[in-house]
């Protein structure tokens, strides 16, 4: 019923008087026309597949073990600072949140590391139950505005609605994504065994994709003075300060602020982490984060209670294969073992039945 026949029908009467024109030509004896092109004709039999299974097994299992070991060597520490529990230091902040409050609410979370973090440490913030992948949210941005286009700066795309204009003034950067940018400030202090608090230097550059920072995101105009470049626009409703005051460093301000760029890459799933800061290894002698006590100081600006979200901070080292990733290693080991097992099963089957088939064929 639906399989329409497109046009074969019309082919019938291309030539009018001749009707069925008789082909008097003998067909060409070419390999293609006679369907005799030389070909490789593989058959998937137990015999041919067997070695492949063993080989896959033999390759996958070591890879899996390697991945698993590497992943296990990665140190990761996670702390939840949402403050839903009464006992949590951030409880007060989370309860008394209002967008208009001028006084920032801060809270400090003590924690201790059992093991030293040897190499560079990456500091992430994690949100859960936050639907950055909601369709209305994902499309609520204007890429040409972010690319420094001045017309888009003044006339944000309608995709940004209802975050395109605030009291007739165009919002820069427009859209729901920018509007809801994560604005908690996280500071990390090491508590020396003798009690002094040492602030750990956090690097805020180099956390975004190089291409994003240098090509995709650009500040409007060639104007080095960002304040005048953003003249005539207004800050997103939920922001405390305009976009040209995100950072003091000119290389990290405006649209090319890396925290902003990281936030603008919408996460795939409602539970996600985003890179916040990098703690660079100072020298080979001392670990980046020695074991001991730490304090995480949070300037609590970002409300998640209304949608039952959670906020976390994650400290993690990395390896050649990225962060902690037990899944890949386990999956590789599993698949490798399954292949190996199937190989054995096939070997048995091949020996038992393969010969039977061959003899059965002879009468044919």
């Amino acid at each position: 019923m639906m399989a329409s026949s497109y046009n074969a029908k019309e082919d019938g009467h291309v030539t009018v008087p001749g009707g069925g024109t008789i082909q008097n030509k003998k067909p060409d004896n070419t390999a293609f026309k006679q369907q005799r092109l030389p070909a490789w004709q593989p058959i998937l039999t137990a015999g041919t597949v067997l070695p492949a299974f063993f080989v896959i097994g033999l390759i996958f299992i070591p890879i899996g073990i390697g991945l698993y070991v590497t992943s296990n060597n990665i140190k990761e520490f996670e702390i939840d600072y949402t403050g839903t529990d009464m006992s949590s230091p951030c409880f007060n902040c989370s309860q008394s949140f209002s967008w208009n409050s001028t006084r920032p609410c801060t809270c400090a979370l003590p924690f201790s590391l059992e093991q030293p973090f040897e190499s560079n440490v990456f500091m992430y913030y994690g949100l859960s139950n936050f639907y950055q992948n909601h369709r209305r949210y994902v499309k609520s941005r204007d890429d040409s505005q972010l690319n420094g286009d001045t017309t888009s700066l003044m006339n944000p795309s309608k995709e940004c609605e209802p975050y395109a204009r605030n009291e007739k003034m165009p919002i820069a950067p427009c859209g729901a994504i920018a509007n809801s940018m994560f604005n908690d400030t996280l500071d990390l202090y090491y508590i020396d065994p003798n009690g002094t608090r040492i602030q750990i230097p956090l690097m805020k550059k180099g956390i975004a994709w190089w291409t994003d920072k240098h090509v995709k995101f650009r500040n409007p105009g060639g104007n080095p003075n960002l304040t005048s470049a953003f003249q005539g626009t207004t800050k997103p409703i939920n922001w405390r300060k305009p976009v040209y005051e995100l950072d003091t460093d000119a290389e990290n301000n405006g649209f090319i602020n890396e925290d902003f760029i990281v936030w603008m890459r919408t996460a795939a799933l409602p539970t996600f982490r985003k890179l916040y800061r990098i703690i660079q290894k100072k020298n080979n002698m001392t670990p980046t984060l020695p074991r001991g006590n730490y304090t995480l100081e949070v300037t609590y600006n970002y409300p998640v209670r209304s949608f039952e979200g959670r906020k976390r901070v994650i400290l993690s080292t990395i390896s050649w294969m990225g962060g902690k990733n037990p899944f890949l290693g386990i999956a590789y080991i599993t698949v490798g073992s399954v292949c190996f097992f199937l190989g054995v099963v096939l070997l048995i089957i091949h020996h038992k039945y393969g010969s039977r088939n061959n003899t059965a064929d002879i009468p044919n």
């Binding site: 001749g18 008097n24 909601h134 369709r135 994902v138 190089w210 795939a268 962060g323």
Partner: protein
């Protein structure tokens, strides 16, 4: 979704109101008849413009678009596109608009080009010059300006510009010769006649003086039927009425031959001509594959709708709380908020539909069409199906049924010309039981094998002598053979081979030629028909002349023909020849018993027999017969019926003269072909008009029946003894008993059934008690089902179609194939699922009406066993694969909705959504479906049982479909959850600065989608690679090429900031993904997991439960050596022969 029923209803309703004229009156030369005759009703006819084109420049775009969107599939995609335009949908309208636009444009261009060709052809035809007679002079005008009633002059080798009634010819005897090659492919010259009253006209002036009208039926497409009447008005006389028949009607498209010029009057012009009416398309046949495809589509449509419904419901359940619906970070716009919730829900439903609509891909239709269209070329290209002798190869008239060739369960074949050569050889004749055997010469060539005993037992006696004379004269006179003297024949010089300039014979029936030639060898030579006198050169070299008065033409219902002649002595004689069953009941005297015995003996030997009888008419009887005939011939209405009645009255009280026997040899390799077809599980039925004994002998010779076959007879002879009821029950008991026994014994007795036309119609006839008829039918079918071969003899053409219909409608709904070569097979060819025509000697009618035409019966073997098998597995894989790859494609998108708050967020980028079916995965499957050969051609030919592996739509049954769908779902889950765990559980990161530092970056939702999509494209393509058994360079090129294309496209698509797009979401996403080690490892792992179950299933099935095909494939390795030696041998062989 079938509009035809509706259309029928409408047209039936409309037709009731329409005024329909049964006949048309044509005024020759536009001259009004004398007022006394009848009222002058001017009728409007179309002009002689041939319009085969469908469009004009103005209406091309609207009409073509309308035509295209009438197809449900296109309409569906248009609807999706419109929905995308109207509501706020997740994917841009481009994703469905672009493919649709592509398909529509390509189709429109193709149709436009074809229409342009048609326009050109129309133009050249419409503008070709025509000589018209006006006011006594010849005027040259354009063909398109001809009107009904115009008198036209046509010269030799010119083509008739419209359907004409012959008025006079330069030959003087009112005849002209015509070849209708371009109409029906028959190359013989046919004679057409002018009405005696007009044939004397020699000049334009004379023609112009003619005052006459022609009454004829309204145009109808049958080329061989015409009824009309000409009324000639002379001054002060009553009009003379003469009958007009098909022998007076010159058809448009035919060419005048061997005649200087003719005058004729146009009666059907333009689109009314029989040629134009014949170009109307035939009823559309649909293949079983198409039916399963439609069923699958409906399943997928249901899946699509239920997916959308589920998601819509879940969406509203999930966002019940306002914090989920509109969290602070993600507010709706004011307009959206003001909308009513029902409208919002409906919009959401539509949006989900749009998001998931790719599950029914537009490209599938295009691919299937292309596969069928391109694939059908392999049949026409096949040199094994090319016949050197005829110089033709196989011909494909429709490409819609290619795969049906691999599904045939019942083969209905004609006997004469299909199983047999239709190359007749006169064997013997018998006069009153005395047998004469001539020198065995056939069609002018001496056959050395045959015996050369001349006239055994030729002791003439008085009475016998007289009968003998009559017999030979009867055979010399009672035929429609034309004698061609070699000087009248331009190119063909067959007659000269014999040394002396003799004539040779041309007829549409090879039997007649064989008989006339046989007579010639027995001493009676038919010379020519001259001035309606037939001339015979008798044994004593004297020329005898008989005036030919009437020819009572042969037809397959009467199964006989007669002539009425007047001998030089003034005697009226009626000679009749025909099938024994139609002659014997009409015989009143003669040695019936002896002749019958001889006829039966000959029939058993497989010879075609005819009986000859005569009747001498008194002048009074002749007058009466004449009257009856002309009455019937003049009738405009029911002429056929009245003629049959008249024939029935005239052809009686015969005196039997004797019988003839003609041999029709089996076609080369007919037996081998039938054997192969039977081995392949097909039931072969022979449907023939021949008599039982002859047909049975042919069946034995062609190995349809074997010596071990137990023959069940269901013939008139038996039903005369017992009642039909008893016979049927008897037979079914025999068959069923055997079946219950065969459960125990391995050796199965096979049965052959012989049924004749009379019994068949009794079986099919609805009996008075309503329960009985259904029963007979059922019992008959039950018997047939258990017989390996069935022979139906004495069949009328319509009965052939009835049988096919009966089997088609039986409860298994088997796929039927009908093959035949003659006009009498057309009904069966049109009725069967697949109709195959043989380009034989009886014209090309069958070939024209068939779906495929082949030169010889033996080609059927390759056609079915090789081409059919290939087409079937190709299209089956194509259909299943298409559904599979779209499940893989869309199901992750469905799963993603559970993780994005049912917000219709697409998982993949727009470009990927659009191009997935168009370019990333389209070519490999198309090429697979064109050139896949899972097993070699030789193997398929050698082992016909392999055909059983694909019988009964084996690869498109529900379990197989379910397997593919489950595999698709499994793969989709692997893709999605694999990526999910990689993203969710871990910090899935990459080196942002491309190999420079190891700064760790986060991946977003587009990377997630791209990862899934990359795994998807690779898995789906590799799955096809696993299914490919025949890796030619084309497969390699296309499979690896499209993967490479995907990678290159993705690099390019993400490589630059695209200036005219308002989003840059894919910028560097693909490259960032590839720069991450875990992404590579993840992709490889997911591909491996996805392909693993299918590989395991394949290997296990092949090892534990191998099909015949798979065994043959495994055996191939041992055979290749053997084959290569054969190849070398044939190579050297062919070299020697050159």
């Amino acid at each position: 979704m079938d509009f035809s029923v509706l259309r029928n209803l409408i047209s039936r309703y409309c037709a009731g109101e329409e005024y329909w004229v049964d006949s048309r009156t044509v005024y020759i030369g536009h001259k009004e008849p004398p007022p006394a005759a009848e009222a002058y009703i001017p009728q409007r006819y179309p002009d002689n413009r041939i319009v085969s084109s469908k469009y004009t420049l103005w209406n091309f775009i609207p009409k073509n678009l309308f035509e295209q969107f009438r197809r449900i599939a296109n309409f569906y995609f248009l609807l999706i596109f419109l929905v995308q335009l109207i509501i706020d949908t997740p994917t841009s309208p481009v994703t469905s608009g672009l493919p649709l636009f592509f398909v529509i444009t390509v189709t429109a261009i193709k149709q436009g080009y074809e229409d342009w060709l048609r326009h050109k052809a129309d133009c050249s035809i419409n503008e070709c010059p025509v000589d018209m007679v006006q006011q006594g002079t010849v005027v040259r005008t354009q063909s398109s300006k001809l009107r009904v009633g115009d008198v036209v002059m046509v010269r030799e080798d010119e083509t008739f510009p419209c359907d004409l009634i012959l008025l006079s010819s330069s030959r003087g005897d009112g005849t002209c010769y015509v070849t209708t090659t371009s109409l029906d492919g028959e190359s013989s010259h046919k004679t057409y006649y002018a009405v005696p009253d007009t044939m004397a006209f020699k000049t334009e002036q004379e023609v112009d003086s003619l005052h006459a009208t022609i009454e004829c039926e309204q145009p109808q497409p049958d080329l061989y039927k015409f009824v009309g009447r000409i009324n000639i008005y002379k001054e002060r006389e009553d009009p003379i009425a003469r009958p007009l028949g098909a022998e007076n009607l010159l058809l448009r498209g035919a060419t005048l031959k061997n005649t200087g010029h003719i005058y004729a009057v146009a009666i059907y012009t333009g689109m009314d001509t029989k040629m134009a009416l014949n170009y109307q398309s035939k009823s559309q046949k649909r293949s079983a594959v198409e039916k399963s495809m439609n069923a699958f589509l409906i399943v997928y449509l249901c899946i699509l709708i239920s997916k959308a419904v589920i998601n819509t419901v879940l969406k509203y359940a999930w966002q019940w709380s306002a914090d989920r619906d509109e969290p602070w970070y993600n507010h709706r716009t004011e307009i959206d908020r003001e909308r009513h919730v029902v409208i919002r829900a409906f919009t959401d439903f539509l949006a989900f539909m749009v998001l998931f609509n790719y599950i029914i891909p537009v490209s599938m239709y295009v691919t299937v069409e292309m596969q069928k269209f391109l694939g059908s070329y392999f049949i026409a290209w096949d040199k094994d199906m090319y016949d050197e002798e005829l110089g033709v190869g196989a011909q494909v008239n429709t490409s819609d049924l290619n795969e049906e060739l691999g599904q045939v369960e019942y083969v209905f074949t004609d006997k004469t010309g299909t199983l047999t050569e239709n190359n007749m050889e006169f064997i013997e004749c018998c006069v009153d039981g005395h047998v004469y055997i001539p020198h065995a010469i056939c069609n002018g060539q001496i056959l050395s094998a045959a015996s050369s005993i001349d006239m055994i037992d030729s002791s003439p006696g008085g009475y016998r002598r007289e009968h003998e004379d009559l017999f030979f004269r009867a055979l010399c006179l009672c035929h429609t053979v034309q004698a061609k003297e070699e000087e009248t024949v331009d190119s063909i010089k067959r007659g000269i081979h014999l040394g002396k300039p003799t004539s040779f014979y041309i007829s549409s029936s090879p039997d007649e030629v064989a008989l006339v030639e046989g007579m010639k060898r027995l001493g009676y030579t038919y010379l020519r028909l001259k001035d309606s006198h037939m001339e015979i050169l008798n044994k004593d070299d004297e020329i005898e002349r008989f005036e030919l008065l009437h020819v009572l033409n042969f037809d397959s219902v009467r199964r006989r023909m007669s002539v009425i002649v007047k001998s030089s002595s003034g005697e009226y004689l009626l000679f009749c020849k025909g099938a024994d069953t139609s002659i014997f009941p009409r015989v009143v005297s003669g040695k019936v018993e002896q002749v019958r015995a001889r006829v039966e003996q000959n029939a058993v030997e497989g010879l075609r027999t005819l009986c000859v009888a005569y009747r001498s008419l008194s002048p009074a009887e002749y007058e009466e017969a004449c009257h009856q005939l002309s009455d019937a011939k003049l009738a405009l209405k029911d002429r056929e019926q009245r003629l049959a009645q008249a024939y029935d009255l005239i052809e009686r009280d015969f005196t039997l003269l004797g019988a003839t026997a003609v041999e029709d040899r089996l076609q080369e390799k007919a037996a081998d072909t039938i054997e192969s077809l039977q081995k392949a599980g097909m039931k072969v039925w022979v449907l023939t008009g021949d008599k039982m004994e002859t047909a049975a002998a042919t069946c034995y010779a062609s190995k349809l029946f074997r010596r071990s076959t137990q023959i069940l007879e269901l013939t008139k002879k038996r039903t005369e003894e017992q009642s039909l009821h008893d016979v049927l029950f008897d037979l079914s008991r025999t068959v069923l008993r055997q079946r219950s026994l065969s459960g125990l014994s391995v050796e199965c007795q096979d049965y052959g059934l012989i049924i004749d036309g009379a019994t068949l119609s009794a079986v099919l006839k609805p009996s008075p008690e309503s329960s009985g008829s259904g029963n007979y039918r059922e019992i008959f079918l039950e018997i047939c089902r258990n017989c390996s071969a069935v022979l139906c003899c004495r069949m009328a053409p319509l009965q052939k179609a009835q049988i096919v219909k009966l089997i088609k409608a039986s409860k298994e709904h088997p796929i039927t194939l009908a093959i035949g070569d003659g006009a009498n097979d057309v009904s069966m060819i049109l009725e069967a699922h697949v109709g195959i025509g043989i380009m034989g000697k009886e014209g090309r009618q069958a070939a024209r009406n068939s779906d495929y035409a082949i030169p010889k019966f033996k080609h059927l073997k390759k056609m079915l066993l090789v081409h059919g098998h290939f087409y079937y597995i190709r299209i089956a894989e194509l259909v299943q694969y298409f559904f599979y790859k779209n499940v893989c494609f869309i199901f992750p998108q469905f799963l993603y909705q559970f993780f994005c708050g049912f917000s219709q967020q697409p998982l993949y980028d727009t470009a990927y959504l659009t191009l997935y079916n168009i370019s990333f995965t389209s070519l490999p499957i198309l090429l697979y479906s064109l050139i896949e050969k899972h097993i070699s051609i030789e193997m398929l030919k050698r082992d016909p049982t392999l055909y059983k592996d694909v019988a009964k739509n084996a690869l498109l049954r529900w379990p197989v479909f379910l397997y593919w769908t489950c595999l698709g779902l499994f793969n989709a889950c692997i893709f999605f959850f694999g990526a999910y765990f990689l993203f969710d559980n871990t910090t899935f990161t990459s080196n942002g600065q491309l190999m420079t530092t190891n700064t760790q970056m986060m991946f977003g939702n587009w990377t997630f989608g791209t990862l899934v999509f990359t795994v998807l494209v690779f898995t789906v393509t590799l799955k096809l690679a696993l299914d490919t058994h025949h890796w030619t360079w084309i497969n390699h090129f296309v499979i690896w090429g499209s993967l490479l294309f995907y990678v290159i496209f993705s690099l390019l698509w993400g490589g630059i900031i695209w200036p005219f797009l308002n989003y840059q979401r894919m910028y560097y996403v693909f490259m960032q993904m590839l720069s991450s080690g875990p992404a590579w490892l993840g992709i490889i792992l997911l591909i491996a997991i996805s392909l693993l179950p299918d590989v395991v299933k394949k290997v296990l099935c092949r090892t534990l439960w191998p099909t015949a095909t798979e065994r043959a494939q495994s055996n191939r390795s041992c055979l290749t050596v053997e084959l290569s030696t054969i190849f070398v041998l044939t190579q050297s062989d062919s070299r020697l022969s050159f």
